[in-house]
Symmetry: C2
Subunit: 244 residues, 2 copies
């Protein structure tokens, strides 16, 4: 982290506290990445044990959110941070909400995988459709990984690049939905499991949204500008303005 962005504190302990909480966000992020990876593997393998593991581990993610939140409230109360330090704490409070919701989406995918595994007697969506969902999954997992990297390095350009990738995630999601609808129409016995695949794709698309949110907080943190609800073009202009 480019520490020059933040105030040098007379209190070495305050520096340490900020650094600790930042590190814990990254640890929580890593845990959530693992949850996405495992939920995708569970969907590919329809392995009920892995589904169970993902579902149970969501509690750990939730506990991280509550504990980081408490630490942020404590820092706000005790240290009364200003400027960049305050933006860091606010960005963390928002980031962990998105990380926790990504964890919820991974848990949902594990539930869907379990549901599909239990209904193997029905007609199943084809490998091609699962393949498209896996592709989307790998795409949004990379988005989250890069968003966390941008957060760790306070890198606005990297954050912008991740935000741009959301368009691809949306396109892939729409294509999957269209394919699945055709499939359901052709073989109505497949509707239940096709819907499970569709909900999984939806969960992945939302993970992409949350990764984009995290990038927006990185930009807010570094630039002091709120770029939520701003179009990609406008976000790029902001970044260009910076480079000039």
């Amino acid at each position: 982290m480019d520490k020059s962005l933040f105030t040098k504190h007379i209190s070495q302990k305050f520096n340490q506290e900020l650094e600790n909480v930042r590190q814990r966000v990254l640890t929580m992020g890593g845990m959530v990445e693992e949850q996405i990876g495992d939920s995708l593997e569970a969907l590919a393998s329809l392995d009920s044990n892995l589904c169970k593991k993902v579902i149970e581990r969501d509690e750990k993610v939730n506990a991280y959110e509550v504990s980081i939140d408490e630490e942020c409230a404590r820092i706000l109360a005790k240290r009364q941070p200003a400027a960049g330090d305050l933006r860091l704490v606010v960005a963390i409070i928002k980031t962990i909400t998105d990380l926790e919701r990504i964890g919820d989406e991974a848990e949902k995918i594990a539930h869907m995988a379990n549901h599909i595994a239990l209904s193997l007697e029905d007609s199943m969506p084809s490998k091609k459709q699962f393949g498209a969902v896996m592709h989307l999954g790998s795409h949004v997992k990379t988005m989250l990984n890069e968003a966390l990297d941008a957060f760790a390095r306070l890198d606005v350009e990297a954050a912008l690049k991740v935000a741009q990738k959301e368009t691809t995630a949306d396109k892939e999601y729409n294509a999957i939905t269209r394919q699945l609808i055709t499939y359901m129409m052709e073989d109505p016995r497949s509707i239940t499991s096709a819907l499970d695949v569709m909900w999984s794709a939806r969960a992945l698309e939302r993970i992409g949204d949350h990764a984009r949110n995290i990038c927006e907080y990185v930009i807010y943190l570094v630039e002091g500008k709120d770029v939520r609800h701003v179009s990609l073009e406008e976000m790029e202009k902001l970044a260009q303005g910076r480079q000039e």
Copy 2:
């Protein structure tokens, strides 16, 4: 609001600032309630103009979120609030995120309604199914209304009651999904519009989740306890502990 919960400030201006930002949250909440109501009306009437109105108005909701967020950051930096005041500001930052996402869900319903309106040639879900969705919609709209009331009056008992209502919303949502799946299987030509109805029901179920989140912030604000990821029984125990 029971102002005794909060520090009496020597600065009359600080009191005024906190009260103003609290009022703006309630205004934003009222706007979001209207969005839910209009999106449900659009779904019932399949009125494209009303759909458009809801979709366009979402920008206003977004602008409210950004501006209240900025005001909160300003108060944190300038006033360095402690204890109950700090919790109020943190609870507001979290509440407006949920309100904004409820606005997004209302916008999605309007998109679905528009989509159904444009595909009238297809086989349509029956009035019965629309009726069930409307019922769920009215249930979660009431939940949001009561959550905002609990926030305005800092009423923990009321907040708990709203949180309990989420179970009913989940049950209604599951019943709608089951009905629609049966319907799609019987008449595959209805799949596209039945899915639009299903997404709308899903959006309503999520609105119920967000209303529950707001109630959890009210409890955190008043009690200083984080009740997220805590079961309903545990939440009730907390409230009982209070009454004893």
